[in-house]
């Protein structure tokens, strides 16, 4: 059973913003299929009535007071950036509005 097709891999690579080579697409299709096949036991398990666990340790209402603290120095912040202009981070042109 083909759990994940090459097209699926290409779609996932687009979602993950990874430009993969043709060779990588082929390689990952095979390797991911092998891992997913191993995970078939998980996918097939009857878990009706079993709640999901997202956190290993149950804490609630962890909050901080609304009191301002120090910020980073802008020069230090922008020195990390691959490109900066006019006090801001510079990026190549954006093709569409935010979703």
């Amino acid at each position: 059973m083909a759990l994940i097709s090459r097209d699926d891999v290409a779609h996932v690579a687009r979602l993950a913003r990874l430009d993969l080579t043709e060779a990588e697409l082929d390689q990952f299709a095979g390797q991911l299929a092998a891992v997913l096949e191993h995970a078939a036991d998980v996918a097939a398990l009857d878990t009706a009535g079993v709640p999901p666990t997202a956190h290993p340790f149950e804490l609630v209402n962890v909050l901080r007071d609304d009191v301002a603290g120090p910020c980073l120095d802008r020069d230090e912040v922008l020195a990390m950036a691959p490109a900066a202009e006019d006090g801001r981070f510079r990026v190549p042109r954006i093709l569409g509005e935010a979703p």
Binding site: D8, Q31, A34, H38, A81
Partner: protein, 471 residues
């Protein structure tokens, strides 16, 4: 010389921190080219810190419980102004503007940071071969891997480059290299040690812990780094546990369950050492019995879905906009794709792909959602075991250290070798690997102690007993 002895002598003014550091720097100079445990050795900084420790001692101050102790940090712990790479091209040259909480706590305790250790890229791997800067080699046999992903930290302690090291453990990344390098490695209870400033792999599984040459040093280090941190919402609001004081309490009357399914998963020589360890605990007064953990192998599959899903999101931020690598593109989407293609190695890409797939529309319920439910089942299974046992005993790894390149071609085989360590991460429970002899090939073998949440004190008692049984 142990970390405990160093700190005792430096605090007493019997030895200078500077001398201690020079000895370790000399050890590094002697073998680092061969082993490549470090991405960065902080020679000048270490000397300056040591001199400051000595100055404080001379002034009558107490620099703290780790006074003058050389410590190596896994290169996914943020250090202010000091490159923190996660062994990735993506972060090459990045200098964090802040320290991780554990780094701050080590410094306040008088520790001397000697360097940043090599690792599998973004902590993804079990051999330290997935480093963008080349693999680390096992000090016991340089043709072998040190394990991973905290392979550089384990090798640094095993080679005497540092008295202590910190690593991170998401699915065994402290315990497995500790076992393969013959040192002690501890994964604490989830939430016992702050994750603030630890570059995330899988947030609900990651924990920071010590690697040390002996159990007492590991206890000392954990006491320093553990305890509530307001900067980490998942930090348990309790003070650090007292561990050093309980090491000699013994195991008389403790109920220990040997996990059958994990014993079945390992090589015969590893199994023999485990049986000897069980015998030693029994001889020391523990009641040792066999216990079943039926969901252990399901846990492995669940782990690789959950960890990669969280990782796919945690690693989205490496996009070439704010810090780290950028490969230019005609538009932002092209820049993202090219940057991430160039910045991440094959294993990181593979896991991002798997995790993205597990979360994507149409597959969430079958993979991520199911894996979360399996996590629940595994936790129930382990809690049921802890109803009858104070501790579980299991192998740490299925084999001794393997040759470089032996498993790189087949990711699934590499993943399967984590079966013994993953249950504690999924449950958020503490576990530690303690060296227990060598295998047929003469290489170190570790045995693993598992405890329920916040069961560190009991776990360390048993670890000390095991260590004593070898003496």
């Amino acid at each position: 010389m142990s970390a405990g002895e160093i700190a005792r002598d430096v605090r007493a003014g019997v030895r200078s921190a500077r001398d201690v550091v020079e000895e370790h720097l000399a050890a590094i100079a002697g073998r680092e080219d061969e082993l490549h445990a470090f991405n960065l050795v902080l020679v000048d900084e270490a000397r300056a810190t040591a001199d400051e420790v000595d100055r404080r001692v001379a002034a009558g101050e107490d620099p703290g419980p780790l006074a003058g102790v050389p410590v190596a940090l896994k290169d996914n712990l943020c250090t202010r102004g000091v490159p923190t790479t996660c062994s990735s091209r993506m972060l090459e040259g990045w200098r964090p503007p802040y320290d991780a909480t554990v780094v701050t706590r080590l410094s306040r305790a008088g520790a001397v940071i000697v360097g940043k250790t090599n690792m599998d890229e973004f902590a993804m791997g079990s051999s330290t071969e997935n480093s963008a800067f080349g693999p680390t080699r096992n000090p016991h046999d340089p043709s072998r891997v040190p394990g991973g992903s905290s392979g550089g930290s384990a090798a640094a302690v095993a080679a005497g480059f540092a008295a202590l090291a910190l690593g991170s453990d998401t699915g065994g990344s402290i315990r497995q290299p500790a076992a393969l390098c013959g040192v002690v490695g501890v994964k604490p209870t989830y939430g016992l040690v702050s994750r603030y400033g630890v570059v995330a792999f899988a947030s609900s599984l990651d924990q920071i812990g010590p690697l040390a040459a002996n159990v007492a040093d590991a206890a000392l280090a954990l006491e320093v780094i553990a305890g509530h941190d307001r900067a980490d919402s998942t930090s348990i609001p309790r003070p650090a546990p007292a561990l050093s004081d309980v090491l000699l309490d013994g195991v008389d009357g403790l109920r220990v369950g040997v996990v059958r399914e994990l014993v079945d998963a390992v090589d015969p020589d590893v199994g023999r050492r485990l049986a000897e360890a069980a015998g030693a605990l029994e001889a020391a007064g523990a009641k040792v019995d066999e216990v079943h953990l039926a969901t252990a192998s399901l846990g492995l599959s669940a782990y690789y879905l959950l960890a990669t899903a969280e990782a796919s999101s945690n690693l989205a931020r490496y996009d070439g906009v704010r810090y780290g690598l950028r490969v230019d593109g005609d538009d932002i989407t092209a820049m993202y794709g090219a940057t991430r293609a160039a910045g991440f190695g094959a294993e990181v890409k593979r896991r991002i792909m798997l995790g993205t797939y597990a979360l994507s529309a149409g597959y969430y319920d079958a993979y991520y959602g199911q894996a979360q439910r399996v996590r629940t089942l595994l936790i129930r299974d382990m809690e049921a075991a802890y109803a009858s046992y104070d501790l579980l005993l299991a192998p740490t790894t299925p084999t001794t250290a393997f040759e470089l390149g032996a498993k790189t071609a087949d990711p699934l085989t590499m993943y399967l070798s984590d079966v013994c360590t993953i249950p504690s991460n999924l449950a958020g429970h503490p576990a530690m690997s303690v060296p227990y002899g060598v295998g047929d090939d003469g290489l170190p073998i570790g045995v693993q102690l598992l405890a329920p949440a916040l069961g560190e004190a009991t776990m360390f008692r048993a670890a000390a007993a095991l260590e004593a049984s070898l003496a």
